[in-house]
């Protein structure tokens, strides 16, 4: 802090600190706190109360229509006297025959104008009487709704068994993705890190990096092109004669766990490769040679020398991959378009942006965050690494 002031002077240093504080408060702390608060606020959407409000609105609308019709009929009666237009015109036809409202048929098709007016006035009278009951009911329902809202755990406890299943499966799937990612990345990271030729290692790393210059969505779409029914993979298999597309035998690659895992591994491979690469790179080659020299097999050398050394990198890579996989929305959305079992992130998305229920969305997000944090802690425990090792 002091060195900052010494290096940049009071004005600049204060500006830096002020901006950092603003960033911490406005962009991190407040939104997060808001989300957490929402998660614990149950907002009863009051389905019955809203339904009764809709009913009341409809009745009011009907009453206004009736009053308008009556006025119109009276005008007509006066006009008829003056101009002598033939009676019997159809009026007042409307579509208010609402569902679940006890409104008699609104069509007035016969009788004299006076009769029609009388019938309408009768109907309006009935509706007004209904209105009184409904408004009492509405007040009661609204009070009920108010009583149900407020701080509670209901956002979590009301999670349906389907959502709970999706939640659990998302964690299982994310773990699978992390595991596959590790199995794929460890040999790559090891090979690159232990390549004596620095230039070649740089080229390999560049080769891994270049796909990441492309937008993530495009990278995912590229996979859908490969895996689609008429995609490259099926076309190739068809060309090889393994399947017959003309006979309608394309293999449905998309919308399967395999496809989603495959694309996720591809999408997050770097987050696993780099941490492992960074740790293995600092491993003294002599240790590997010493292990071999002492008679250890390749597998033992890896189990006893390389893997223990790479633990912090593996922990970091696993944490990142798991978090990214658990929070991924683009991959399951695009690769498993509606056919693959939902990812929990998709459920959260729908709560926020389709159901408009931010509180439930927040609660689900918080649940996912808690699960991920739990994963991190378990991970650190299993790998016996501390925060400091990970920061390295």
């Amino acid at each position: 802090m002091h060195s900052l002031y010494r290096s940049y002077g009071a004005v600049l240093a204060s500006l830096f600190l002020g901006l950092v504080a603003l960033w911490l408060v406005a962009l991190i702390a407040l939104p997060q706190l808001n989300m957490i608060e929402r998660a614990f606020v149950y907002e009863s959407r009051g389905g019955a109360a809203i339904q009764s409000q809709v009913d009341i609105d409809r009745i009011y609308q009907r009453i206004y229509t009736i009053e308008y019709d009556i006025d119109a009929l009276r005008d007509q009666a006066e006009g008829e006297v003056a101009i002598g237009v033939a009676p019997g015109a159809k009026i007042g036809e409307d579509n208010t025959a609402g569902v679940g409202i006890a409104v008699p048929s609104a069509t007035v098709s016969s009788g004299t104008i006076e009769e029609q007016i009388a019938a309408l006035e009768t109907e309006a009278g009935g509706l007004k009487a209904q209105l009184v009951d409904l408004e009492v009911e509405e007040t009661r329902l609204l009070e009920e709704k108010e009583a149900a809202s407020g701080y509670s755990l209901r956002n979590f406890t009301t999670m349906s068994s389907l959502h709970l299943r999706i939640f659990g499966m998302t964690l299982v799937y994310s773990f699978c993705v992390t595991l596959i990612c590790f199995v794929v990345c460890y040999p790559i990271a090891y090979t690159v890190a232990q390549t004596a030729n620095r230039e070649r290692a740089a080229m390999l790393m560049l080769g891994l990096l270049i796909p990441y210059a492309i937008n993530e969505l495009l990278r995912i779409f590229a996979w859908t092109m490969i895996l689609a029914n008429e995609g490259m993979l099926n076309t190739t298999l068809d060309a090889l004669g393994l399947i017959d597309m003309a006979q309608g035998e394309p293999i449905r690659w998309l919308a399967s766990n395999g496809a989603v895992f495959c694309v996720m591994v591809y999408a997050y491979i770097l987050f696993m490769v780099f941490p492992i690469y960074n740790t293995i790179e600092t491993l003294d080659r002599n240790q590997i040679e010493a292990s071999k020299d002492l008679g250890a097999s390749l597998i033992r050398t890896h189990l006893r020398v390389v893997l223990p050394y790479a633990k912090p990198g593996i922990a970091v890579g696993s944490i990142m991959t798991f978090m990214l996989a658990a929070g991924s929305i683009a991959v399951p959305g695009l690769v498993g378009p509606g056919l693959h079992p939902d990812w929990f992130s998709q459920v959260i998305y729908r709560n926020f942006f389709e159901a408009g229920n931010w509180n439930i969305g927040s609660a689900y997000s918080l649940a996912l965050l808690a699960a991920c944090t739990g994963f991190i802690l378990v991970n650190m425990l299993v790998f016996r690494v501390g925060i400091r090792d990970i920061a390295k």
């Binding site: 071999k292 008679g295 020398v305």
Partner: protein, 368 residues
Amino acid sequence: MDKQALRGKNVELDGVSMRFGDFTAVQPTDLTVNAGEFFSILGPSGCGKTTILRMVSGFLKPSTGHIRIGGDDMTQLGPNKRPTALIFQNLALFPLMTVWENVAFGLEARGMGKADRRRRADELLELVALTGQGDKKPTELSGGQRQRVAVARGLAVEPAVLLLDEPLSALDLKLRQHMRAELKSIQRKTGVTFIYITHDQGEALTMSDRVAVMNGGRVEQVAATEDIYDNPSTPFVATFVGEQNVLRGKVMDGANGIARVATDIGEFTGANRDGLGAGDDAMIFVRPERLDLASRSNETVNRMRAHVERRDLEGPFVNVFLRARGDLPLVMHMTNSGDDWRSLEGELELGFRSTDALVLRAGELAGE
């Protein structure tokens, strides 16, 4: 420690060479290291000594030739299949294992049970004077202790040959000297063949039974320690091991094992080791401790005059740096046995006995 289990074997290099692309790291070499011997390979960096070590240990496959250990051809075997153990320059202890796990790693790889491993590791730690340190991590030990852990780890697999790649280079002088004695004594106790790589002649001379001096991928001389110092066979060996005064000239007469050589600062005679004849380019080598004030010698040959430039007191002896005619640098060691060195100033007359001078065919010197 079961001494029988650790009997050393001999190592034979038969026409072994190593090429990396266009670069020849080791010229075709024949070399035999006797069983149970402390053998050093001495040479400047890049001379190919580490390459030879890596070929013997199995990390490198020779471009040509065969390597036999105890008579068995090892050329096609990997490092984990050879009866050798390598002590790395940086020791390469496993930092995440305890000391005893390090020592017992080779046994673990051979599938020995944990209790047996622990017992064996403790025995080996006792051998290298680290009793009771087994549960520490290598980082908790001092440099010399780590050294000994590495040696114990190497010995645990009961190798016939222990290969050491300059393992003492990271230690400070005092500890290095101490470890030399320890290594020597461990070698004696176990009877394992030691092949020791170093660029430090002091290490090679103090520990070894025999020394090979290498230069430019070629073994220049293989000889017992004292012969390397007293009877170098090439100008490189003469100047790489110990200090030398070098006089260049042409042979006038080489009869009877004595060569008479004409140089810029006069005529000198010395042992004609290479059998040179009149007209050959020659170099005369005289050790600084064999150079003396002419006044203390009865001989009248091999005299030269030189100017004192500097006197450095080393403690037990004094280095006197002189310059003869033609800007020729000379150095003379005088024992610090009195005050006589303090009066050495100006122009002096120096001399040496013909038997203390060695005449060799002119060639490449060390450090050129």
